[in-house]
Amino acid sequence: MFKNRNFKEIVSWQTVLGFEVHIELETSSKMFCCCPADHFGKAPNTQVCPVCLGLPGTLPVPNARAIEWCIKLGLALGCQVNLFSKFDRKNYFYPDLPKGYQITQYNIPFCHDGELLGHKITRVHLEEDTAKLQHQENMTLIDFNRSGVPLVEVVTEADFKDSDDSDVFLKELQQIIRALGISSADMEKGSMRLEANISIKRPEHPDLPDYKVEVKNVNSFKFIKKAIDYEVTRQIQLLESGQIPVQETRGFKESTGETVSQRAKEEANDYRYFPEPDIPPLQFTEAQIESWRSELPVLPARVREELVNRYQLSSQYAVIISSDPDMYAKFLKNPSKATANALVNKRPLQTTQSAEVDREVVSKVLIANPKAVADLKSGKQQALFFLIGQIKKELGDVDVALVKRTVEELI
């Protein structure tokens, strides 16, 4: 990477980054039928019925609890609620979609225009999950246990600066979901799924670029961060060599830390959305919404504030306790520093990744590249990517964010 570069040509670029986050709700039943929604680890096709198999003649009956939870998440994210809303059909063919359409929400989502940590939430809507394809050597099997599980989609504006910015946001979103008790939002189990939309533009350009790369199927915060960093670097490199990145969906390869093309987007898919005729439109009252708002738990940000200001805990302890509703409840029973200590120390040890990169190697690279260091100091982010590239050459597959932090510290 970054060979034979004339650094005088480096101009600054701006990352355009936004997210679509899917959250599986842990309601007791699925979105449109009575099958259990908890499908994790269950034997294939044991939690299915005519409705979620999409058999002829079946009809969807919406799950009132799922609607309530979707709206509560929207309220927790500061959204407006559409008092009149509806479901729509999104028509497309895929073997994991037994009806040939997905029931989702198109132009009137339950919630819209929220904000979290300074980032705008475009919309929060409810839909059904698809079945799961299991690709085997000579065949593909379909497990319908997941078909029809309630799925909330949170869409953000593309207003994230970089992967650090988004990391904080996504973790906070996860904590809010957990505080609401609507989902474990566990990325490894797929109950929280992240899709990053990444493109690069000139800062002085007001419009969005006319391409967009979607990175999906990433199952941890660490990897989505890596994937974003890799993708930003890759796209800038392409742009600097005069190419425009291809509009496509990319996945993340954990072994190499690279993103890989999964499918190029043909022309935009025509989903032929239209109002779902099997489900009458929904009308809510202000009173209903206010009553749901009043049932919201204290959200993590408030909890942290309380822990620090009222109970004098360190912010580190506050983060740990606020991120676990159980622990927080236990703490409140006997709120003291001693309780906090006991709770934090008792919690299961988490496997930690190496939190350091070899500083010597980083220093060596910095010394060898004075021009890039100077550029970086004068605010040219591109120089940073160049330096990271050089460091990766020395160290192999490393956490890009960590390298970045180390570089920033050493400079």
């Binding site: 999409g54 002829p56 003649g57 079946t58 009809l59 059909r89 959305y273 005729p277 099997d278």
Partner: protein
């Protein structure tokens, strides 16, 4: 014949043990054996031994107990082949029963079979079927109407006592009219659609087909009501259709929309409907001319919206499941899928689907306006008597126009009762329909009952 009689009379005689359920079933089975080869009303017949065993064991718990019936093949029946008239489902054995099937079966009626229909409900003549057209019992060179031609022909030729039909644009009423029987298209949402193979979800209705308004009222009593499996089924309490049946219709205002009586209407059909209007005046009703100006858009609106929905509803028959591929769709079905796909496509949605939805609202309002003035409206069911085989299936536009008087009922969601009002000079049955406001089934059945008390068109049967 036993099944010439009404359901309630048969039920009384069963309870008095004058006759047995086996007697009725045997008579129907004989009739099927004798006439079905000529009429082709059945797609799948329940094994006669099974039927007779069922009849032997039947407990007389309701007025429907022991009464033999048939289902349009759009209804899902557990362990019994269900095709929707299409080869796409030629070998499909379902895993569950439709709500209406469960209701009728648990009332003790005896299912004889699954009946011929235009595939997926796409048609008005039961010629768009993959199981050969059903013949009209009054003239076997003619069609029985559609899409529910099989159930109607079976009732007219006394192969059963009643049927559960399905009406999305006239599929109960058109064959009822052309076979000289009585059929009720219910208010959208009055009867659960769960287990009815969808043609066009916002148009599809489940209703009874029988020989009289009284029979229809009785059946409706058992099948109407809210269903937790159908979010579009209505929570409104089910009326008591039978106890009000004998109330007279004195003072009721019957509108005669001029748009239904104009161009394209066969003169004999027109005369018979006007005669029926006179009969209603004799019964104490007032008949007034009314106008439904949006009716001229009825065909366009229906043939944009219903195909749009069908293009989506039929997407599940993708060749992965159910054994057969999409090549098994007939040209008429492919045409409707293509029209609907086009109407929903980006760039065309606003001009077609959306505009048609807006027009649908206007049609609903138009009917509401008329029903502010009158209690119900009277019109023909079809513009012509039953057509010759081949006449409609080979002319897609004519095929559309056959439903011109019935489509807008479904667009508006209102109920309509189709019943016989006479015969042409050549002896072909002619039907009329009474349409009323949302959930006015009780009134329509009263009017139909009153009419049938003083006429005898509904007791005529074909000489076969």
């Amino acid at each position: 014949m036993l099944v010439d009689d009404t359901i309630s009379n048969l039920s009384t005689r069963l309870k008095k043990k004058e006759i047995s359920a086996v007697d009725i079933a045997t008579e129907c089975l004989e009739q099927i054996e004798k006439l079905n080869p000529k009429i082709n009303a059945f797609i799948t017949q329940v094994n006669p031994k099974t039927v007779l065993n069922h009849a032997k064991k039947i407990k007389l718990t309701t007025s429907l107990s022991g009464i033999p019936y048939v289902l349009k093949d759009a209804y899902i029946t557990k362990d019994l082949r269900t095709t929707a008239g299409s080869n796409v489902l030629s070998n499909y054995i379902p895993q569950y029963d439709a709500t209406v099937v469960s209701k009728v079966n648990s009332a003790g009626s005896i299912l004889l079979g699954k009946m011929n229909m235009d595939a997926w409900g796409h048609g008005g003549s039961t010629e768009n079927t993959d199981f050969s057209p059903t013949r009209n019992p009054w003239d076997i060179t003619r069609v029985a109407g559609g899409s529910g031609g099989g159930p109607a022909a079976a009732i007219a030729s006394r192969m059963c006592s009643f049927a559960i039909g399905e009406d999305s644009g006239g599929s109960i009423r058109n064959p009822a009219g052309w076979c000289g029987i009585t059929g009720l298209k219910v208010t959208y949402g009055r009867v659960s659609r769960y287990g009815s193979i969808a043609y066009a979800s916002s148009f599809d209705t489940v209703g009874p087909t029988a020989k009289t308004a009284e029979d229809c009222a009785l059946i409706l009593q058992y099948i109407a009501g809210l269903d937790p499996y159908d979010a579009t089924s209505s929570p409104l309490p089910v009326g008591n259709y039978l106890s009000h049946l004998r109330e007279d219709i004195k003072g009721k205002i019957i509108g005669l929309p001029k748009e239904f009586m104009g161009k394209g209407l066969d003169s004999e059909v027109k005369q018979l409907v006007l005669q029926a209007a006179k009969k209603f005046i004799d019964l104490g009703a007032k008949v007034e001319e009314v106008s439904l100006p949006t009716l001229e858009y009825g065909i366009s609106v229906y043939y944009l919206l219903a195909p749009s929905e069908t293009s989506s509803n039929l997407a599940r028959y993708d060749g992965i499941r159910y054994g057969n591929g999409r090549d098994k769709f007939t040209p008429e079905t492919m045409r409707r899928i293509m029209i609907g796909t086009y109407a929903l496509s980006a760039g065309y949605y606003d001009a077609y689907y959306k505009k048609a939805q807006q027009a649908r609202t206007l049609i609903v309002k138009d009917f509401e306006k008329v029903f502010n003035r009158c209690d119900m409206i009277l019109s023909p069911v079809s513009p012509t008597p039953p057509t010759k085989l081949g006449e409609l299936i080979n002319d897609p536009v004519k095929n559309m126009l056959a439903d011109i008087y019935t489509l807008t009922t479904n667009t508006a969601g209102i109920p309509a009762l189709a019943l016989p009002c006479g015969f042409t000079k050549t002896g072909l049955p002619v039907g009329m329909q009474l349409q009323g406001p949302m959930f006015s089934e009780k009134l329509l059945l009263q009017a139909g009952y009153a009419y049938q008390q003083t006429t005898s068109w509904h007791v005529q049967k074909p000489q076969l």
